[in-house]
Amino acid sequence: MSMVQLLEVRNLCVEFPSRRGTLKALNDVSFSISAGEVLGVVGESGAGKSLTGASIIGLLEPPGRIASGEILLEGRRIDNLPDEAMRRIRGREIGAVFQDPLTSLNPLYTVGRQLAETIVTHLPMTWSQASQRAIDLLASTGIPAARERIDHYPHQFSGGMRQRVVIALALAAEPKLVVADEPTTALDVSIQAQIIELLKKLCREHGAAVMLITHDMGVIAETADRVAVMYAGRVVEVGPVSEVIHRPSHPYTAGLMGSIPTLDGHVERLVQIDGSMPRLTAIPPGCAFNPRCVHRMPRCTQERPELMPAGATRAACWLHDQAEVA
């Protein structure tokens, strides 16, 4: 690819030192996001989705640390920046939306003040210009009577409304990338639909790319252009969303898709992946999925597969090794 990607993550490894040795929570994670694109990141709890997001926005909690690899935003490395420089990028160039809107908002300030503060910090605007922009932003998220609501405190909003405020906050300084970590998980289905719709619409209008982290395949299917599937700290498959859903190449992706109950048609039994994801202390050698895999070959227990072309997607699975097939 000659074009510079908006975001590029190369061989990212995140480690947690512990008494029993160093735990590798992310192991050689690589992917990219181009401008305006929505990349979905799915996986089960503990797969490393949120850690990937936290590494990108520079909010990795110690003792977790980036052990190797690099993160590039428009070609510049951002993973090794000092805190102060990272703070200017966070908010200005990368916005964030988290699962629980209450933790993203300060309960002691009105939402208007929080929005205006973000705007003044990152954009060359006076406080009064920023206040006007805050009202416009709030109105664009579909909050009725934005002019009055701007003076309300977070606790005066409902869960769905708070998440709208957080989205307004993430987009306040016109970032190029929004990292949304489970933005709808805490919300009811009917509200979830509204929020996803809003996130999509606003990011399109502002030209922002989105990294959408979720465990909900339905949300990904509807929203994302491409999807990366994570398992035990690695990306096991990445590709266009419809391909990954309908023609998954990695056995884990296939199992994951089959285990989701759907509304069309009726199956008596769901596809079942026996066992559970390995703990970080006991990642099996070779392919981490091999103990649960129905296609296991001797090679899978010894050699770790890297992402390789597999149909219209790329999958980390020896089944798709060209040398083997040929």
Binding site: I191, A193, I196, G218, H246, S259, R269, L270, Q272, I273
Partner: protein, 339 residues
């Protein structure tokens, strides 16, 4: 229409719920009430629900948070008393359970909770957790109990040797299996499952749902399945009740409900689910949010969000009526404004 005779009722039901209600007193303290002249306040968590659960079937209750579905579950196992109405279990009123000789009834009703981390005592070994109901309800000797626990663990796909371990040594899915084993220990007829898989990952959820189906077939169990996830409900349920603000707005057999939802709220819920197989249909945006249950809207509580609401919906509470295979509470359907 007087009594809805279709799918809300079944012949010879295992459970019959008639106009059951549960209100919670959330008034401010007495002194504050007197000083600032505030009235008593009741939160009507469940306000008159009626349904039957047939023997061997899976009846599901769906709805958004705060609609009262978990309260119904707790009423059914006797954890909450009734403010109004009654619940019959195998023809006997449920309050018989707390009276002398009611122990037998309690063992027929068991419950599985949502959070497998909170519902198992962390300081007890698994063997003791599962044996506890046996101690209460049977005259088994300790040796018989150990044998029964082994049998139960095998039944839910765990190893009999797991008796010696503590809950924290298990994953979320395995803990939910332990909860199921505990519930099955006394051979209940009805299992009340309150969001049994919501805390689990999808692949683990599939394991637990498959297990629950197998057990139902093998042991002839009846399930009341509470969930907010319509896809899961579609997978497990035989009949479905849809709840909104403490009431059931629609009861229908599963296929009828998903093929032809009638109540505007049911339609809205179904349209709100993201479609995994992207057939290109745009989701209809759902307007508004669930109102505050302390101050529910007048008339039909759904009217502020309903696209078909008229003056009557704002003032008059709708009654249950049969429409096709469904029982619906909606004026618009009664008047033929929507089908």
């Amino acid at each position: 229409m007087t009594i809805p005779m279709h799918t809300a009722r079944v012949a010879d039901p295992l459970v019959r719920v008639e106009d059951a209600a549960r209100w919670f007193d959330v008034s401010p303290p007495w002194l504050e009430r007197v000083i600032s002249r505030k009235p008593r306040v009741d939160l009507r968590a469940v306000d008159g629900v009626t349904f039957d659960i047939g023997r061997g079937e899976t009846f599901a209750l769906v709805g958004e948070s705060g609609c009262g579905k978990s309260t119904v579950a707790r009423m059914l196992v006797g954890l909450y008393g009734l403010t109004r109405g009654r619940i019959l279990f195998e023809g006997q009123p449920l309050d018989r359970m707390t009276q002398p000789g009611g122990k037998a009834m309690r063992s027929r009703l068991q419950m599985i909770f949502q959070d497998p981390y909170a519902s198992l005592n962390p300081r007890w070994r698994v063997g003791r957790i599962i044996a506890e109901p046996l101690k209460t309800h049977t005259q088994m000797t300790p040796r018989e109990r150990v044998a029964r626990v082994s049998e139960l663990l095998t039944q839910v796909g765990l190893d009999p040797a797991d008796q010696q371990r503590f809950p924290h040594q298990f994953s979320g899915g395995q803990r939910q299996r332990i909860s199921i084993a505990r519930a099955l220990a006394v051979q209940p007829a009805l299992l009340v499952c309150d969001e049994p898989t919501s805390a689990l990952d999808v692949s683990v959820q599939a394991q637990v749902l498959n297990l629950m189906k197998d057990l139902q077939r093998r042991l002839g169990l009846t399930y009341l399945f509470i969930s907010h996830n319509l896809a899961v409900v579609h997978h497990v349920a035989d009949r479905v009740g849809v709840m909104y603000l403490g009431r059931i707005v629609e009861v229908a057999p599963r296929d009828a409900l998903f093929a032809q939802p009638r109540h505007p709220y049911t339609r809205m819920l179904l349209e709100a689910i993201p479609d995994m197989h992207g057939n290109g249909k745009a989701r209809t945006r759902v307007a508004g949010e669930v109102p505050n249950p302390l101050n529910p809207p007048s008339g039909c509580t759904f009217h502020p969000r309903c696209p078909h609401a008229n003056a009557r919906c704002k003032s008059e509470e709708p009654k249950a009526l049969a429409a096709g295979l469904s029982v619906v509470t909606c004026h618009a359907i009664e008047e033929g404004r929507i089908s």
